[in-house]
């Protein structure tokens, strides 16, 4: 009898490789950056370098924007489209928010709701371009990104808007246990809800079906236009929310700050690294989230180790490429294992493994 241990099944999952890489890298970073190797006491592992409170708050704050953006964009990707306008949408959303607070007497919850409505409009515009005019989403969203970036600058002629203190800015800098920002918890909640929608609802199944085979989806009676609309609106609303969370921390709205560090591409890279298919129809937010953590740890690791920023950028690219190559070899192994089982004719296990490999 050909037995497969649960551990091996776990190893064949794509996310497992990423998770192990993540854990190893994080531990290595903790050890090296804390100075334990140079004779610091063992407790330094948990309060110096990577694990110091300042650095952790920094890591979590950087993650907030990316996680919320990732939640929206992953759904769009699985549905077979791409949204390259999210960074510009986030930027314009925050500018509108700051402008409302600064120049009009509205309170921040009201301004927040207006911005959510603006997010819905952003999503509907993308929907119109893709559904009605049949543009490829790649190019339609690049065009809209340019429009929004321009509008951000037009609104204030390129200047910042300072956010006056309010409940909103207080919320942005509140941390639990001194290192866990409240906004981070909110971002994780968004991620969990998005994954719930994907894996536990009919709508989620429809998204996979539409992304995997649009023609079959249409022939089986799915309303593809409606699904795409919901996806674009979902992604745009959360793009705006991610921008608002970001300004809540920084307390200033800058017309191009979000666009200039390109969270768009980082987030899409994380999704694809985490197993989301660029063509749609496959992947989940768990893998994408682990990959996003991995990208952030790689970036942070080199900073806390005191590597020169120039080497840092190069090493980030190199490590990303290496992660992808490792992923290729693990995929090859998975494929070969699958073939072996197929030839062995052990049907009870093969179905289980197929599921694991596909996940």
């Amino acid at each position: 009898m050909h037995k497969i241990s649960p551990f091996k099944v776990f190893l064949r999952d794509k996310s497992a490789v990423l998770l192990i890489t993540l854990i190893v890298l994080t531990l290595a970073t903790m050890v090296i950056s804390s100075g334990v190797l140079e004779g610091e006491p063992f407790s330094a592992l948990f309060n110096k370098g990577f694990m110091s409170k300042g650095n952790l708050i920094n890591v979590f704050n950087n993650l907030v924007l990316q996680i919320v953006m990732l939640s929206g964009i992953t759904l769009v990707l699985i549905g077979g489209n791409i949204d390259l306008s999210v960074a510009a949408q986030a930027s314009l959303g925050t500018m509108i928010f700051a402008w409302l607070l600064d120049r009009t007497p509205v309170s921040w919850p009201f301004a927040f709701i207006i911005c959510l409505a603006v997010g819905v409009i952003f999503g509907l515009i993308n929907t119109f371009l893709v559904n009605k005019l049949k543009f490829p989403s790649f190019i339609a969203t690049i065009g809209m990104a340019s429009v929004y970036t321009g509008l951000c600058n037009v609104m204030t002629k390129g200047y910042n808007i300072q956010l006056a203190a309010s409940g909103f800015t207080v919320l942005g800098r509140t941390s639990l246990f001194n290192f866990l920002p409240v906004t981070f918890l909110f971002a994780v909640a968004v991620l969990v809800v998005s994954q719930f929608i994907l894996s536990r609802t009919t709508f989620g199944r429809n998204v996979y079906m539409l992304g995997g085979n649009p023609l079959a989806a249409r022939l089986s009676g799915l309303n593809a236009d409606r699904i795409r609309m919901l996806l674009f609106v979902y992604s745009s609303v959360f793009a705006v929310v991610s921008g608002l969370l970001w300004t809540a921390q920084l307390r200033v709205a800058h017309p191009t700050a979000i666009i200039s560090f390109n969270p768009n591409l980082t987030v899409i890279a994380a999704a694809i690294l985490g197993g989301v298919s660029f063509m749609g129809g496959a992947g989940n937010l768990g893998g994408a989230f682990i990959a996003l953590l991995l990208l952030n740890v790689i970036e942070n690791m080199l900073t806390v180790m005191g590597v020169q920023p120039y080497y840092n950028i190069f090493a980030q690219g190199l490590l990303l490429a290496i992660a992808l190559i490792i992923d290729y070899f693990s995929a090859e192994r998975r494929r070969k294992a699958l073939l072996r089982i197929g030839h062995g004719g052990i049907s009870s296990h093969s179905s289980q493994t197929t599921k694991a490999a596909a996940g």
Partner: protein, 337 residues
């Protein structure tokens, strides 16, 4: 009778051609700017302005040719701008710091850019990494390398590199009669690449792979080989764009091409290369770029706030695609009737 039929046949095929719509848009745009600037008391229809427009095309045209070829073959290279800037720094460092002659600098820049392109192709063909993320990793690597190289011999601080070289200055800003050398080189590139894509077996293979990679593989086309050629080509052309930028400024700039990450792809799609690959030609790419730059220079000439120009450029892209969509829908209807 027969004459009208022939007329109808050729005329309708012309009207339903993608490039024709774009060209019409170009004419309309020139008309609008002519009237607009006449109202402001200046003139738009001048040789100098059109020379400026073409001159502003030169750098981005190399990116667009590379991106266009890749897109026809069904791939995208997001690392073009970073690789181009890297090439510019290599040239500047070679000429300005290491005292190499200009041609050696150019060869070094192009060769190294080509290597980066080959790595892109390796990641995509051998390790089956999606192009989006593979070329994104390359963007980071090329940027990092650029910073590293520019910081050599400068106390480890990355900075722009200035250089003085008569030959490079001539390449960047020289004129042949009233026409800048850059424009002539650009047009030559467009013609050569256009002929390769439209008239040669290689061009057919590229289209075949872009249209249906599996069928092309079954038909015995070495898709990996062609992907290699296209990515190396795109990277080398990005290097050419970087070299032109550096030669014009007399400086290898760390910020060079920074805003051009998507310009090449945008121009290629605007020029009628379909997103899934398989169709399109270089004439469309040229007219696509022409429209984008005429618009930007025209808006500047009539004194529109540059921030608004950015808004309108995005809108223009979508309008041009809509125009294309409408023509295609009409020609489909005409064929069905």
């Amino acid at each position: 009778m027969e004459k009208t039929n022939i007329y109808k046949k050729y005329f309708s095929s012309l009207v339903h051609h993608k490039v024709f719509t774009l060209f019409l848009l170009f004419i309309v745009m020139v008309g609008v700017f002519t009237i607009w600037s006449a109202l402001r008391g200046s003139s738009f229809l001048r040789f100098a302005i059109f020379r400026n427009i073409l001159n502003s095309l030169v750098v981005t045209s190399f990116l667009a040719i590379g991106a266009g070829f890749l897109l026809v073959g069904g791939n995208i290279d997001l690392s073009q701008a970073a690789v181009g800037a890297f090439g510019g720094i290599i040239l500047a460092a070679a000429v300005g710091k290491w005292g190499l002659p200009w041609y050696a600098g150019i060869m070094a820049a192009l060769a190294l850019c080509g290597c980066l392109g080959a790595i892109n192709a390796l990641l995509i063909t051998k390790f089956r990494i999606p192009f989006f993320i593979a070329t994104l990793a390359m963007t980071l690597m090329a940027q990092g390398l650029m910073y590293l190289i520019s910081s050599i011999g400068n106390n480890g601080i990355a900075a722009n590199i200035n250089f003085q070289d008569a030959a490079l200055k001539y390449i960047g800003t020289g004129m042949i009669g009233p026409i800048p050398l850059g424009i002539i080189i650009m047009l030559l590139f467009f013609i050569v690449y256009g002929v390769i894509l439209a008239k040669t077996g290689f061009g057919m293979k590229v289209k075949f792979i872009g249209g249906n990679a599996i069928a092309a593989g079954l038909a015995g086309i070495n898709a990996a080989m062609i992907t290699y050629i296209l990515f190396v080509n795109s990277a080398v052309l990005s290097g050419v764009a970087g070299i032109f930028t550096a030669a014009r400024l007399g400086q290898g700039s760390l910020m060079a091409l920074q805003t051009n990450q998507f310009t090449g792809i945008t121009a290629a799609v605007l020029g009628g290369i379909s997103f899934g690959g398989g169709t399109g030609g270089m004439a469309g790419v040229f007219v696509g770029l022409l429209i984008l730059n005429t618009f930007q220079i025209g808006m500047g000439a009539v004194g529109v706030n540059p921030f608004w120009v950015q808004v309108f450029t995005g809108a223009l892209l979508l309008v041009a695609l809509t125009a294309d969509f409408v023509t295609q829908a009409r020609s489909r209807k005409a064929q069905a009737a």
